[in-house]
């Protein structure tokens, strides 16, 4: 009986503990962090870091993937002919130099002192093998193929010279070659071990080699001792831990289990800032967010209505209030990081009177309802849309907000014109060239463009594709962005700002604009 009583006491005590902790959990943990300079729990880890990531791509073959999650890890394992540094500047990678022999012929001089992680040499044959594979049967079954099919063939001139013969002028090709589908893979290794083995045991030329991979749990990279860049990488080991929930990732960061956290949520920024051994890092990204119009839906077929909705919304307030300022207002559907960005265009100013006037001109009745579809899992955007609904109500338009699973929205509702009159679209613009975004969004008949069509826009889109002269293309994009601004096929809201958090022991870590973590210069205190 006595024992029973003790047990019961323990039981009640633990319930009380849980309950009391629950009631004041947020403020409680913050107070503690703010008042006390807690000891850094990760201080003794040694010359290695652990990074918490939300998900991993499940396989590592570069031609099978389009996922940023792939590039987050594999940027350390593989390299391409052309590299893009952390500031997004193109620079020599495995190719030392290149030149256009004519508009459709591109020649590369290769670096001579490079070996793959398995010891096989990097040379012109490896480049040819990589692109034959990418453009051949194997690659055509994957999502990367269509990005590179302007390449007709790759010719080996000598051991360290290759020539790409193109079947069409492709102004974005160099940019694409710096992207992750075109990284160079080892021919012997793949031929000897098979594709399946390569999927799970990737080999490249990068600063780190993959030495451990537990699907959905962790990826271990170790220093490539033979890396061609002198003195790099600085770390001996990098471990990526897969932790899907942001709250759990933050907990692991606070307990020192991980050193760097990817995808910090806006709501978590405060907690990171108030912990003395953590740093919050923010970085603008090329990902733009907009509420796009289906121009086939009345009254949105009228340009005045689309402009009115643009005038009715106070973007700056949305970004400040809901995103805590972590967003950059945009005037067109691209961020300032992309080629083709027009700095002279300013977002539509907040002018409800002008909006009302335009709506009146267009004959839109007070109380007109527009369906808007947004992803159900994006809490921030839901709040943004609710605020947009509030602004629109001020000018007499009612929004009927519906949510859908994000995959269904993107792969079914939008392409089929079933996403109401307005829908959320986020776009990464992975080539960092407006071509990728603009062509897919505004060219008639494209997958993600259910209804928008304009003769001038069509012409400009084609024109910029037929030139490799970047100045000429820039001029075309200026004209195109002005035209699009006027036609308002969407309400451009903001370019996303990514938040990372890092333990203070991590030195020289620069968060990437494009999810591709570059870790060779990173070290620890």
């Amino acid at each position: 009986m006595k024992k029973m009583k003790h047990w019961l006491l323990l039981c009640v005590a633990s319930v009380v503990l849980v309950l009391s902790a629950c009631s004041g959990s947020d403020s409680g943990s913050q107070d503690e962090n703010a008042e006390g300079n807690k000891e850094n729990p990760a201080a003794n880890r040694g010359n290695e870091i652990v990074i918490g990531i939300p998900s991993e791509p499940q396989n590592w073959d570069p031609i099978d993937t389009f996922l940023l999650d792939w590039s987050t890890v594999a940027t350390s394992v593989f390299e391409g002919l052309i590299d893009r540094d952390v500031n997004l500047e193109l620079q020599p990678g495995l190719a030392e130099s290149w030149e256009y022999l004519d508009d459709k012929t591109l020649q590369f001089k290769l670096r001579q002192d490079v070996v793959f992680h398995n010891g096989e040499p990097f040379n012109a044959d490896a480049v040819k093998f990589t692109f034959d594979r990418l453009l051949g049967e194997q690659g055509q079954a994957g999502p990367q193929y269509s990005n590179y099919n302007s390449i007709d063939s790759v010719e080996v001139n000598d051991e360290y010279t290759v020539t790409f013969h193109l079947n069409t002028v492709d102004p974005v090709l160099l940019t694409k070659l710096a992207s992750y589908g075109a990284v160079i893979v080892p021919p012997q290794y793949i031929q000897e071990n098979g594709e399946e083995h390569f999927d799970n045991n990737p080999v490249g030329t990068g600063p780190f080699k993959m030495t451990g991979y537990k699907r959905d749990q962790e990826i271990v990279l170790e220093k490539n001792e033979d890396y061609w860049k002198e003195g790099l990488p600085k770390l001996d080991k990098v471990t990526f831990k897969v932790i899907p929930e942001a709250s759990t990732r933050l907990a692991e960061l606070q307990t020192g289990t991980i050193d760097i956290m990817k995808r910090v949520e806006v709501a978590q920024a405060e907690t990171v800032n108030s912990t003395n051994y953590l740093n919050l890092l923010e970085v603008p990204t090329p990902t733009a967010f907009a509420l796009r119009f289906d121009t086939a839906v009345k009254p949105l077929d009228d340009v005045r209505v689309r402009q009115a909705i643009n005038y009715a919304i106070d973007r700056d307030a949305l970004i400040e209030e809901i995103l805590s300022g972590y967003g950059v207002p945009i005037a067109t559907f691209q961020s300032e990081l992309s080629f083709g960005y027009n700095p002279d265009l300013k977002p539509y100013p907040y002018d409800p009177e002008k909006a009302k006037q335009l709506l009146e001109e267009a004959g839109v009745e007070e109380g007109t309802t527009i369906d808007v579809v947004i992803p159900g899992n994006d809490g921030n955007f839901k709040e943004i849309t609710q605020a947009v609904a509030f602004y629109l109500e001020q000018v007499g338009i009612k929004l009927n907000i519906q949510t859908a699973d994000v995959t269904t929205l993107n792969s079914d509702l939008i392409p089929n014109g079933n996403a109401g009159g307005m829908y959320r679209q986020g776009w990464g613009g992975w080539t960092l060239d407006f071509d990728n975004t603009a062509y897919l969004m505004y060219h008639s008949g494209e997958f993600w463009n259910p209804s928008f069509m304009d003769e001038d826009v069509e012409r400009l889109l084609e024109e910029q594709r037929n030139s490799v002269d970047q100045e000429e293309r820039a001029a075309i994009f200026t004209e195109l962005t002005e035209k699009l601004y006027e036609l308002a096929p969407e309400v451009n809201l903001y370019a996303a700002v990514d938040l990372y958090a890092a333990n203070e022991r991590v030195v020289d870590f620069q968060p990437p604009h494009d999810d591709r973590l570059r870790l060779e210069e990173v070290s620890v205190q």
């Binding site: 029973m4 902790a21 943990s29 389009f66 999502p143 269509s146 792969s411 897919l440």
Partner: protein, 309 residues
């Protein structure tokens, strides 16, 4: 008994078959996996067609279903669209973590529910009973994910006693098991309480007491054993809900189990993995239910399966 087992197995096959149809056709209503796979690229129609053909998605639905069923019969669930890895491999990799977690959850639930339920029943209408019932209510109303985060905040972040996520040893099992178990224990404690009350009122308990056997001996030896029966059934029936619970708990604690596999697959429209994963879970459910029914007749000899119906 044998004919009963055979009949139950036949039922089980039927259930799995029905579920395979539902899963197969419902996931195909949710968007095109090829579009998802190309979602960041710039696909030509040619490339889309090619991949569609490669994945067998160009064939009529009934043909696709036939392929799936044929595979099912030979334990070949196809390959993941996303990773190209056989679905069977993916599932087998994760059966163990999910199984361990479910077991941990049941263990915690029993550990809490039995004492709370028994004491509630024995001390009926006292303060202790009231406390026990409040506890059950709290257990039932806690959302899994919230409880999980709270436990992480308290025991991993603040106290630093236990790891917050992953599956690398016994200590990693504790928090997720408590999360899963606490919620189950609420319902279970109520059940133990009511069945104990029922048994305690029976004639034979009074007889035992009058013979001078000590009170707790009567309660634990006679009453509790009889009250066990509905509990076992309940746990069996609850197994499905438990697996549902593990899905959320796996997500919160980065547990590498089947639940996370299926969630990821649904997001990616990875048809073979979704189909295979759910059919597998259905199979587990059906088998567990079958075992529960059979063990039922073992625990209580009065119930002879299939008799008297």
């Amino acid at each position: 008994m044998l004919s009963y087992i055979i009949r139950r197995i036949f039922h089980a096959v039927l259930v799995v078959f029905a579920i395979s149809i539902i899963v197969f056709f419902s996931i195909r209503l949710t968007g095109d996996p090829v579009a998802v796979m190309f979602s960041a690229g710039e696909p030509t129609q040619e490339a889309i067609d090619q991949l569609t053909e490669e994945l067998g998605l160009d064939k009529p639905l009934y043909v696709q279903y036939g392929v799936f069923m044929k595979g099912l019969l030979t334990f070949d669930l196809g390959e993941s669209f996303r990773s190209g890895i056989p679905v069977m491999t993916l599932i087998l990799e994760r059966v163990w973590p999910t199984f361990v977690l479910a077991l941990g959850g049941i263990f915690v639930a029993l550990l809490i529910a039995f004492p709370v339920g028994i004491i509630s029943a024995v001390k009926r209408d006292t303060f202790l009973d009231f406390g026990g019932r409040v506890f059950s209510l709290i257990g039932i109303s806690f959302p899994n994910f919230w409880l999980g985060f709270m436990l992480i905040l308290i025991f991993a972040v603040n106290l630093q006693w236990l790891p917050a996520s992953g599956f690398e040893g016994f200590s990693y099992l504790i928090l997720p098991s408590i999360t899963l178990g606490l919620i189950l224990s609420g319902v279970l404690a109520r059940l133990v309480r009511s069945s104990m009350l029922e048994v305690l009122n029976q004639q034979y308990i009074r007889t035992a007491k009058s013979k001078g056997i000590s009170k707790w001996k009567v309660i634990l030896k006679h009453a509790f054993r009889n009250a066990l029966l509905p509990t076992v059934t309940f746990i069996g029936l609850q197994f499905g809900a438990l697996l549902g619970g593990t899905v959320i708990v796996e997500q919160v604690f980065s547990w590498p189990g089947i639940g996370r596999l299926i969630i990821d697959a649904i997001n990616q429209r990875d048809y073979p993995v979704v189909q295979g994963g759910i059919v597998f879970l259905a199979l587990v459910m059906v088998v567990v239910n079958l075992l529960v029914d059979l063990s039922y007749s073992l625990i209580d000899p009065r119930i002879k399966a299939g008799k008297g119906k």
